[in-house]
Symmetry: none
Subunit: 398 residues, 2 copies
């Protein structure tokens, strides 16, 4: 088993040319340039001796001719809009070179992990968690094109959807950039992912009374905007007392209606989310959130309501896989690895529902991701590739 990290880096940089944007890429799911990249990747899989095909949702599977037991590895090829060159591409090319190194590894490319059309439709399709009726319903969240139209234009209409073959795999491995600064800050090279956080996404709607900003005295007001401000300030002061070490919470959107300078807002809508790997922490924070909303309704003359938009489940990495990856890191770069949760969602969280799964992180320069300036040093990419291969070898040998 020998990984050629030069060819690995060369393939990564060739892939970077598809939809190149500044120093990053722009490869929206099923766009012409995204499909070009998929077809190029198919040809590379075949060059490496894999039996490869693309299915009805745009997933690619390259099957190893080697006898089992097998590992499955991969990620996604499309990008966020005007985003980074590594993200999902790294995990796909790394999987290709696991197979190229001679290991019995099948390579998977999961469509639309970036959610241009839905939520992890590629990995959910491969693991049997995506219904045809959902495909009928979905449309592009930026320009509203129905998913069915996009699949037809991409030439995928009517193709069967591939499923994970029961019993074929020991498990799944995904290599990815950290998208944070924990490794870089500590001058480390390898992150062994302990689990993938769940995202609990909420909508908070506050109903007040729209009124004239000059003629309505302060004590007559039912200002939905200021009620939203006081509620968010309360949440932000309460959460630190109940969260875990790596919990994060974000109010990504605050919309006041009608949003005019001289009108007291009659309605406020907040998108609020928090993330953690521990289901108990997520549940505890839900109680805190509900208490803050109840307190707001007791104190204010507005009515706040809380709606759960999505409550995902944390995915725990397989302990034996974590040990194998850590041992591989110790063998190749002693003292350079750290066990850490993934704050972002990944296809691995769905694969983890049907087989043992684990992820390996490499450092992100300045922690930047989902932006065209996203980058990682070549030597970090190469080390990650070698550690992934050594980890895979140990898992298969176990």
């Amino acid at each position: 088993m020998q990984v050629d990290t030069d060819r690995f880096l060369a393939d990564l940089k060739r892939l970077r040319e598809f939809g190149a944007f500044k120093t990053g890429v722009h490869r929206p799911t099923y766009s012409p340039v995204d499909m070009e990249a998929r077809h190029w990747f198919l040809s590379r899989l075949r060059e490496e001796g894999l039996e490869a095909e693309m299915d009805g949702i745009g997933n690619i599977l390259g099957r190893s001719p080697k006898p089992g037991p097998h590992l499955l590895s991969g990620s996604h090829l499309e990008s966020q809009n005007e985003a980074g060159w590594l993200d999902g591409a790294l995990g796909c090319v790394a999987a290709l070179h696991l197979a190229a190194s001679g290991l019995p590894v099948d390579v998977a490319v999961f469509a639309d992990e970036e959610g241009h059309y839905g939520s992890f439709i590629g990995s959910r399709s491969f693991t049997g968690l995506l219904e045809e009726t959902e495909i009928d319903r979905l449309a592009n969240k930026y320009h509203d094109k129905p998913l069915r139209d996009a699949l037809r234009e991409a030439g995928l209409e009517g193709r069967p959807r591939l499923r994970a073959e029961p019993g074929r795999y020991r498990g799944f491995l995904e290599m990815h950039i950290e998208q944070g600064r924990q490794l870089e800050k500590r001058d480390l090279g390898i992150g062994v992912v302990t689990g993938i956080v769940a995202i609990w996404q909420w909508r908070i709607v506050i109903e007040g009374q729209q009124n004239h900003a000059g003629t309505t005295t302060m004590d007559e007001r039912r200002d939905a905007g200021m009620a939203a401000v006081r509620l968010l300030a309360a949440i932000d002061s309460e959460f630190p007392r109940h969260c875990a070490e790596r919990t994060v919470w974000t109010a990504g959107r605050i919309a006041l209606s009608p949003g005019a300078p001289s009108i007291i807002p009659g309605r406020a809508e907040i998108l609020f989310q928090y993330r953690d790997v521990d289901i108990d922490v997520l549940r505890r924070l839900e109680e805190v959130l509900r208490r803050c909303v109840t307190e707001s309704n007791r104190r204010e003359r507005t009515v706040a309501t809380l709606e759960a938009l999505s409550l995902s489940t944390p995915a725990v990495s397989d302990p034996a896989f974590q040990d194998a990856l850590e041992a591989a890191a110790e063998a190749l770069a002693p003292g350079k690895s750290l066990r850490m949760p993934s704050g972002a969602g990944h296809d691995a969280q769905y694969l983890a529902r049907v087989m043992p799964a684990a992820m390996l992180f490499v450092p992100s320069i300045n922690g930047i991701s989902h932006h065209w300036t996203e980058d990682t040093k070549d030597e970090d990419l190469a080390l990650g590739m070698r550690v992934l291969a050594e980890g895979a070898r140990r898992i298969l040998a176990a």
Copy 2:
């Protein structure tokens, strides 16, 4: 001098049909339906024997053929978005019926009092306080259309702008709904306006760092959205300790960029205003506001900047005009009037800079305005019309 309040109410209700929205109206400045309303009003002025024209900013002036001395009266025809049917329309139709009653009254309609494009550009143009260079600069605050484009599409491009003819007017009268609950709470019918509050309107921009909401730890964040929330909460807790009895403050808009659920906002923009009749109070609150912004920049890892959008001057109503209106109210509805400040800005505040001016208020049901549920009882509208006409007669006879 005889006012026909039935025809007055009929004209008001005809005007209500232009841009009807639920029980209110939606007539944004220079929109097709707003221009229809302006042309209908022009024709009504001519039917009443006035020499009427519309100028290059959308102002309408109907000149009375009667010998002087003259009074000027009017208001505005456009509405806030999805707002009430009376607001400016009432003052325009009341002025029309002052002239129709035989009084030597010129009727004025001032464009964009509601500020879709600027700040009182109609009354400022009429009083010589609007430069061409400002017209070049202005754009619609909801959809960014340049004012010049809107004027061209409305067929107003190239027309001269009308100015108040020096020496022609004794003064200006404007009838309006109270937009508050002071009259209704006391079961009164007429408000004699003592003065108009100044509005100090600010834009607060907060610059942070856009980043991934899952992978960026709380202590690494430079969240412009949460910085905005904490700043507004601080302002709202400081202002009550420095304001006057009738001071009001409002954050009408909070916009976070990019505004996505899983992205930490890199930028926040707040529209914040306060109003008072006392210039010293306005100056004191500016100091408080600046202190809060300075404190935010000391405490947060974001950068907040404060920009004054408009700092208007309080306007005092002419004492003799107030006396005449109050005497008229006493004659027609004894004990039913109250002297009160206007918490809202009105075109009268600019007219007051070039001639004596005063305003008359009628009750607003539940104090609601700038909302489609805005309303006033027919008998209150009719009484207001009769008191306005009697007050005008007394002023002209003085």
